[in-house]
Symmetry: C2
Subunit: 495 residues, 2 copies
Amino acid sequence: MSPLTYGLAPLEALREDQVEEIHRASMKLLSENGMLLIDYPPALERLRSHGVKVEGEMAWIDEDTLMHFVNMAPSTFTLLARNRANDLPVGGDRIIFAPVYGPAFAMDLDNGRRPSTLEDFHNFAKLTYMTPELHHAGGVLAEPNDIHVDERHLDMLLGHLTLNDKSHMGSVIHSDFARDTVTMDEIVFGADAIRRDPASLSIVSISSPMRMDERMLSVLEVYAEAKQAMILASFIIVGAMSPTTLAATIAQQNAESLFAIAYAQMVNPGTPCIQGPFLPNVDMKTGAPGFASPESALAMIACAQMARRYGLPFRSGGNYTASRTPDAQAGYESAGNLWATITARTNFVLHAAGWQEGGLSTGYEKFILDVEMLGMMTRFTKGISMTEEDFAWDAYEEVGPGNHFLGSAHTIRHYEDAFFQPRIFHTDSFEKWRDEGSLNAGQIANGVWKKMLADYEPPAIDDAVAAELEAFVTHRREEIRDGRERTEWTVSDRV
Amino acid sequence: MSPLTYGLAPLEALREDQVEEIHRASMKLLSENGMLLIDYPPALERLRSHGVKVEGEMAWIDEDTLMHFVNMAPSTFTLLARNRANDLPVGGDRIIFAPVYGPAFAMDLDNGRRPSTLEDFHNFAKLTYMTPELHHAGGVLAEPNDIHVDERHLDMLLGHLTLNDKSHMGSVIHSDFARDTVTMDEIVFGADAIRRDPASLSIVSISSPMRMDERMLSVLEVYAEAKQAMILASFIIVGAMSPTTLAATIAQQNAESLFAIAYAQMVNPGTPCIQGPFLPNVDMKTGAPGFASPESALAMIACAQMARRYGLPFRSGGNYTASRTPDAQAGYESAGNLWATITARTNFVLHAAGWQEGGLSTGYEKFILDVEMLGMMTRFTKGISMTEEDFAWDAYEEVGPGNHFLGSAHTIRHYEDAFFQPRIFHTDSFEKWRDEGSLNAGQIANGVWKKMLADYEPPAIDDAVAAELEAFVTHRREEIRDGRERTEWTVSDRV
């Protein structure tokens, strides 16, 4: 399943001179204000050894040093998938959709909202596998709250690698869990293969403003050492973790992200990195984060321009909403945000399906509705074809002024794939819709996900690979339950 | 209420050479395929006298003749409003929002869908007056089915001119009704004033493909003679009234619209004209028109580029949906389409609030939800401010790495207008939302429109103007009921 190729000029919120102005502000933040790196002396030592000024836990990096390392990050790379037909080129004019990441709750119209379980995670892994609009398996589709927090990553990785065959994300909770991610991909792909092309993509967030801690840095190092891909970016609630103003926020996220990317290159030159932040803002009335605000959209579009300036792949956006239910708010907010995401030419779109309630819950109906929107944008990204056939000269000869084209030879040649075919967004007459029960879009989506789960059949997997994955998970579960140190797993020499 | 100024570079779906390719295809359609002008010999005579080739009811216009006249249309103009503070500059980088036009039904959550009445029309006129996000009063907000079809235009015009004080649209049902529109604006503004700056904007659709009839042409002539503004554009159901392919559709609407604009200039050079089509497409499964498709969005963006090539103001888009209820479909489709509309840099956005069920009904809740979206896009169009203050250097001095900005002096200076403040799209916690009744966005909107109508107070109006408008409407109603010829009304020499 190849990702989309974006066929239009991207939307831009900054002029070229303004891009440079943001760049200079970012350089000032890094060289004069500095980054705080807490509880992790090895990072300070590594920075010092590469010529970065360090005092206590503060580091100040100058533009030349920073850009020397940033330039080592590749502009494009390929993510491996267990089904190699699903390998994903990242960067350039490609767009990849991945499902929501991180919710602690699940919600559907039958059962309402409740803490999510491993069953929910498995269900969303299955739905993702069955959804061609989603190119990537994602990561924490819904937190498996019924599994001990130190083991969840094993169940989720096993789920991604057996219930699905698309490329997946890795754990960032602890450096040992990152090592488990690498080991499980070594079992599937081979240790050498994943060092040529990364098998996992993990999201290591910077603790804005301008801070990284031991967990972030140690996880980053594990993935960089194995040359696995990372999104190194800020999760900023604008107005709280950055100033309220967009220019400062854009400069700050850019500074933070470039610093982390440069650090990854110091660990292992050529480590594939994606820039691109997540920028909800404080709702000044409720104090809660607002999603899909116009300010977030503007900032995202500008941040994409910054990433292009550095030749870095860009991640942001998705089908965001603060709504707690698959209602009109969910629709307006999600579609608005996805439009900004796509027209910004975002390379990796996390949270493209299922996001609900400000990311606190994964919605079953919302997932299906979001996929409808992804289908529409999939068509949109193709742009306008301009061949001689597209000008339909024979149709104008055949159909005179004032007549209709429905039966023309040209229409018959094209009607099957002429227009996006909706699955949920019906155009039925009012009478037909009323007679069929006056269902709203959420209710229609409810029927779709149930049918999909009933129809699910798992992708093929090599028995030996499946057995070794199971064995590794069992082994690690025992280590974790016994409170033992992590031991290295000797990966079978299969590949 | 000044309209929006669009502060970003517009989104483009065509390269510059592709814009020229569309232009050449349009010229070929007009000079080789030709336009059909039915049942209206005076138009054929007028075209012939301006050097256009005419045979029977067909006309073929060459590029030089066409562009000679198209270039007479102004690139920008001002629409008069009864409250002159609401005058509207049209064209350039301005964006104007107007409510839905044309539905035969009204729908709200309490009463469901029913044929709309004059009371519905009045309600939407009041809501439009009270909504700062809507700059323009619109036209047929909801068809007053309880009034005889030959009198409705009088009641609607009287409603726009007394319940609201924003600029309004005119009737296009019959040339006499167009004359009534002009007379009522002469009563309000004076006969000379509306010939300097137009008071009404009317939408004369071309009957695609490539045809105009007696009604269109005669109405066009009335407005052009009085130098009133017109949207001269195609309402094309793509795949039925144009080929299924976008390149042909864009070329066709461009040809049709340029022809009508040139014709208006032949009637009266300098008549203000707006280009820009309405392009839903056939849903090939149901045969019904689909709204807010990705194909429509692409075509609209390309059509806006064509209008800019000719220096013509552009109209298209809106908050479209095929949904029959204010549900998630309504949200996704409307927001997606409005994003395309705005980023295309559309100058006049009809159907910006209230559109439901493919334009068959005006929704009370949908109107309120759409306005929320307009508020978000209002902020979006302003773009990103890049002053020294926006870089917030003092905040970074005050707030160290890892701390939050909520109490900083910079935040206190900016928090009040930092972010878009939602009215419907809540960010409340799940618990607060649940305890307040788990309302969806449509249900919240239901309370908002009711409160607005309860709070409505009409704008001030000069007593003499109000009396003459009433007298004229009474006079014309009598003429129409008696089946008499329209007589000219002598407008009081007030202005």
